[in-house]
Symmetry: C2
Subunit: 353 residues, 2 copies
């Protein structure tokens, strides 16, 4: 049972096959850090806007939908958004407030001055909210994050727009680091935990955008330094990793997609292939697709030329890697397109809607 | 200056060239009358829905946008709406209330139980309102119609969605008939009058959907019965008719498109060609495109086969006829795509929107 706005929104952000081949260009903090490295001056609002507009201009038409923020992105890029490409708008403020254990935990805030009604009003096809989440964190942090998701879920229902919830974990315990085996070992369960939590009906999520449920750099078959030349002790093997993906599929009530979280394109392609061969519905990738092109900024001409070659090539690799993705209408609690039903369907639908 | 929702909406309903090649399947009263002729029983809700769904299924992908009603149409057709095709939703109740001179004048009502917020919520790209209008009618009828347009215009502004206003005149004076030379002679001025009226900023209209500003059956070059075999006394010649089109372009503050109003495809193709060669931005055609196919109902198989051949052919003729249409961003008060500006553009756009 889908309401009319949610159904149309899902159709708009998927491609004709019902698969999600989406691009994210809503980065703010991470893009600013990338630009800081290549510029010998302070990064300004217009630098972020110009990079975002350029990426939309060259690559958006390769995506089934493009995710962008309303602060630096959309107003500058709107005239380059192809009509057929779905539009997702970001809700959360970049970064996070600190709190909890040794002040290492993260609390998400919404963008001040922005809301879901504006997202609907400007003609977007879906809302995206990124929430940092560790289900095993401090209670008040956990419930803060859960309440925020519940709140945004209710707003999306009110404006009848699909809700794409992005979940990102982070190390905060004393024995954890972003790149250590302890955190790598915990990753699958962290992902299972949040997929299970936010699959609950009360959050009213329509698509889960999640991390790959393992760190492939710690997977036996890639631990010899396949992606970055650095050898690591394996935490699991490929067959286990496939089972992790299958388990996400099993736990998720809704279609799920893979985020790129700053990994490079080779690793992201593997993530996408493994996930989509095991029940995932596609990708919503950002930096993995376009980050190498940003190095040429502020030479926009070179940025564009790099996007037109390497960026397009990255997209083509991702299309190929996701060819077995599960169409959204066959994922989660869906049961095939013919079984997808409009909520309140009938002769009085227009009155009851 | 365009707000974000209006800009995106215009881009969504135009094609890549900025031209409008739109199909209307929001007919209710006229479709019911057509079905009454071909069925030997009472026409039911599901008959209208089935015909509408079939037409959307076969022909929608040929249009830059499709207009449909929320009563019989959209809930049945939603799953066949291609993602790339723009979606316009009807606001007015079919038909009209009577009033004014000898009870021959028409007052429009909105669909009860429907409103612009629902249209926005379901993910539509534009709102359409049909208003019967004679500027030389009885004062209270005229102001009723104008008030309704003003009201819908304000709602569209509130929800930031493009407002497509359809204007249809009708004979009501003692010397007028739908098919007589007096009404044919008055037609150009009736159209000029309403285009001028509803070009006023206060109505907040974004696109005018208007009648061809002449009756081609009374144009010297076609008055020998070119379209229906019936000879008529000419009211004007082709050069005058072209000037009528140019005058509509001159009077209209916004892009305008041609409606088909039940004329057959040959006449509509001529209307579209003459209008778009003289400043019009395209068409929003209904019956002229698909009416011949409806005759096969209730044999859906035959309806589909006829749409797939004759319907597609009609579309192709209309594309060709409108190849010189003025892109919306060069029409009315627009001054080319590069000059099109986002309202409230700047670093604080997201707060001010």
């Amino acid at each position: 049972m889908l309401s009319a706005g949610k159904m149309r929104g899902l159709m708009r952000i998927a491609d004709e096959e019902g698969r999600f081949r989406m691009m994210a260009i809503d980065q703010r903090g991470s893009l600013k850090r990338m630009l800081t490295k290549v510029l010998n001056r302070e990064v300004e609002h217009k630098d972020l806007s110009l990079v975002k507009r350029t990426i939309v201009k060259v690559l958006s038409s390769y995506s089934s939908a493009t995710l962008i923020d309303p602060v630096y992105g959309y107003p500058w890029a709107i005239k380059y958004f192809p009509k057929e490409v779905g539009l997702l708008i970001t809700s959360e403020e970049t970064g996070a407030d600190k709190g909890g254990y040794k002040d290492r935990e993260r609390k998400t805030r919404l963008i001040e001055g922005w809301d879901i009604s504006k997202t609907r009003r400007l003609g977007a096809d879906a809302v995206k909210l990124l929430v940092y989440y560790r289900g095993d964190g401090t209670e008040d942090i956990v419930s803060h994050q859960e309440n925020l998701v519940r709140e945004v879920g209710a707003e999306c229902a009110k404006y009848d727009i699909p809700f794409v919830l992005e979940l990102v974990s982070y190390p905060f315990k004393d024995d954890e680091e972003a790149d250590n085996i302890t955190f790598a070992r915990r990753k699958p369960n962290i992902v299972f935990d949040y997929v299970e939590e936010f699959s609950k009906e009360e959050y009213r999520v329509d698509i889960l955008k999640v991390e790959f449920p393992a760190n492939l750099k710690y997977c036996k078959e890639f631990a010899n330094g396949a992606f970055d030349g650095k050898k690591r002790e394996p935490a699991y093997d490929l067959s286990e990793v496939k089972d992790f993906c299958k388990n996400v599929t099993k736990l998720s009530r809704v279609p799920w997609v893979i985020l790129s979280a700053g990994v490079d394109i080779d690793e992201f392609v593997e993530n996408v292939r493994l996930a989509t061969e095991n029940g995932c519905s596609g990708f919503l990738g950002g930096r993995a697709i376009w980050q190498d092109s940003v190095k040429y900024y502020p030479d926009i001409e070179k940025v564009e030329q790099h996007l037109l070659t390497k960026g397009v090539d990255n997209f083509e690799r991702l299309y190929d890697a996701s060819k077995n993705a599960t169409p959204y209408f066959e994922a989660g609690s869906f049961n095939g397109y013919p079984e997808m039903e409009l909520d309140k369907f009938g002769d009085n639908w227009y009155k009851d809607y």
